[in-house]
């Protein structure tokens, strides 16, 4: 997805004079040619995330739409107030592209983890959050939304599904039929779901964004069914968008997401999944137990 970010952002910057790219000293090598070719619109602005976001807002306020890029916790958690006030409250358009997701940088430790980003940002009114499950999905999301007039957050990950699925903002797509329950997988977690749950008699749905609107709609006859929400970050953001629909249908809901604990182990991504009981075997057991209750 990082390579796709470089190519997509490069295309946008080249084709649109009313854009700017701000790098927080991350991803600089990939944009070295752009930094030389467009010094007035492409900046390695420095390791100063809160100012980077405010500078981006200043650009937006004068009609230059910014794309801002660095590692997830530094932009979301360090510069949250700047995103909230300078973009959200001031109603300015902007694009924030992060890398690292929940714990892609497993060996770098907790300082570079950001499982809280989606829930944190979903508290900013009207903010759109994209959780692409595939590089192609991200390419489409950024290309179609960079000038939407909204504040957009794109959560890039090193984890990806095998195939892209073409979804609109806030869309939830049914991928598989079933009678015993409904599972909604978000972003790259679809891969885990398809790996271990395909043979179960459940509907599998997919989403790769959390809209800034109040609600999202699931197309399903799920009255009274058990619903599992499977998110690659701290649970919660998607449930808030669909809770009225689930309540109205008397659904019993279980959320599976990144547990709220500091991940103090290193190792590989797969080792982290096993440690957190988010690997295929564990997920299968959790889902079966829930359905059988």
């Amino acid at each position: 997805m990082r390579k796709t970010f470089t190519s997509t952002a490069t295309k946008i910057i080249k084709e649109n004079k009313n854009t700017a790219l701000l790098l927080g000293d991350i991803g600089v090598y990939g944009f070295k040619d752009m930094l030389s070719a467009y010094p007035e619109r492409v900046f390695n602005i420095g390791i100063l995330e809160q100012s980077m976001v405010s500078v981006a807002a200043g650009l937006a306020s004068e009609g230059v739409i910014p794309i801002v890029h660095t590692i997830a916790p530094f932009i979301v958690e360090r510069a949250l107030e700047q995103i909230k006030i300078d973009f959200g409250y001031q109603k300015l358009p902007g694009n924030f592209v992060s890398v690292g997701a929940s714990f892609d940088y497993t060996k770098l430790g907790c300082t570079h983890h950001c499982p809280g980003d989606v829930n944190i940002l979903s508290n900013i009114p009207k903010m759109n959050i994209f959780i692409p499950g595939h590089a192609k999905e991200f390419e489409d999301q950024l290309s179609n939304n960079w000038d939407s007039g909204k504040v957009n957050y794109y959560r890039l990950s090193e984890q990806a599904n095998s195939e892209p699925i073409d979804l609109g903002l806030g869309e939830i797509r049914k991928l598989k039929k079933g009678d015993r329950g409904v599972l909604i997988a978000v972003g790259p977690f679809l891969r885990e779901a398809l790996k271990c749950l395909t043979d179960l008699d459940i509907e599998i749905h997919y989403s790769n964004s959390i809209t800034g609107l109040d609600s999202m709609k699931i197309e399903s006859e799920f009255s009274g069914k058990k619903v599992i929400i499977f998110e690659p970050y701290y649970s919660g953001a998607l449930l808030l968008k669909i809770i009225e629909q689930l309540s109205a249908n008397g659904c019993k809901v279980m959320q599976i997401g990144i547990p709220k604990e500091f991940l103090e182990k290193y190792g590989t991504y797969q080792e982290q999944l096993q440690h957190l009981k988010l690997d295929s075997t564990s997920i299968r057991n959790i889902v079966e137990n829930f359905l059988n209750k």
Partner: protein, 298 residues
């Protein structure tokens, strides 16, 4: 402390002299205690006293507002919006930019925007009301002439820098002024922004520091002049209540360095009970106090 007392004595002498010239039509220089005053100064003084009265009235009516902070910067804004355009082609309704980063001094901005005929007088009688466009901090989506919705300190300067970067892509002539408080200099984002401005040789930028020393009780920043110098700014240290010096500071720029105007000011300037009195920081005058203060102004 010496500098503050010195400025205080000069400015009080000027106010005293101006008050005594209030009803005269003489176009003469008046001297009082080493301070000289001419007729234009008298007119400016009268206008500013009227603006102070409006600010007091708005705050008292609403029981809200940071009046001393507004009075600290009123001369700065008057010099920027009213006096500077008479001596230059600065026009804040066109390409030039002003951002009030210390948004809690909004009452001064509202008063000056009205004086500059950018907004009407309604702010005085609606300030803080439920349906009002005029709150305790300025909202750029509600008020013409407000370039950023500030209030949380440390945002306005980096926003100004972003505006400069954008203006540079649009090939227009402009200047950008950003007013920050010296207390706001506690914020890390300010120092980050100063580094950015210096790195990008933002000769278009003038950072105005409202140096009223009110936050020294938390952190004493020492010499601001040497700090801004070392960061690559063309730095001027002036009396923030002397219009001539302010206008001069706002019109003289370096060829490639950003400018810093350190304006030595008195928080609460113009109302002796408020001057350098922390009790008034976020307090509004009662009706009785309002009558007393306005009587004192006139």
């Amino acid at each position: 402390m010496f500098k503050t007392l010195s400025i205080c004595s000069i400015t009080k002498a000027r106010i005293f002299a101006l008050k005594h010239d209030f009803n005269t039509e003489k176009n003469t220089i008046l001297t009082y205690s080493n301070s000289t005053v001419n007729k234009n100064d008298v007119i400016d003084f009268q206008r500013l006293q009227a603006l102070r009265a409006k600010i007091l009235k708005a705050a008292s009516r609403s029981n809200e507002g940071h009046v001393p902070s507004a009075f600290s910067i009123l001369d700065i804004l008057y010099s920027l919006y009213i006096l500077l355009p008479k001596k230059s082609n600065i026009n804040f309704t066109k390409n030039d930019i002003f951002v009030l980063s210390k948004g809690h001094a909004a009452l001064a901005l509202y008063a000056i925007l009205e004086e500059a005929k950018i907004i009407g007088p309604e702010w005085v009688d609606t300030f803080g009301d439920f349906e009002s466009n005029f709150g305790g901090h300025p909202d750029m989506n509600k008020i013409p002439g407000v370039k950023a919705s500030t209030g949380s300190l440390g945002h306005g300067l980096p926003i100004t820098i972003g505006k400069i970067l954008a203006k540079r892509t649009q090939n227009v002539d402009f200047r950008a002024y950003c007013l920050i408080g010296d207390g706001e200099l506690n914020e890390g984002s300010i120092w980050e922004s100063l580094i950015i401005a210096s790195h990008h040789s933002m000769k278009e930028l003038t950072v105005i520091i409202d140096s009223n020393t009110s936050s020294n009780r938390a952190l004493n920043l020492g010499s601001l002049e040497s700090k801004f110098d070392s960061l690559g700014f063309d730095t001027k240290n002036i009396d923030g209540h002397v219009h001539k010096d302010l206008v001069s500071g706002f019109t003289n720029f370096h060829t490639h360095k950003p400018t810093a105007v350190i304006a030595q000011t008195i928080k609460g300037y113009g109302i002796s009970e408020m001057e350098n009195n922390p009790a008034w920081h976020h307090a509004a005058p009662t009706q009785e106090q309002l009558r007393t203060f306005i009587k004192d102004l006139i």
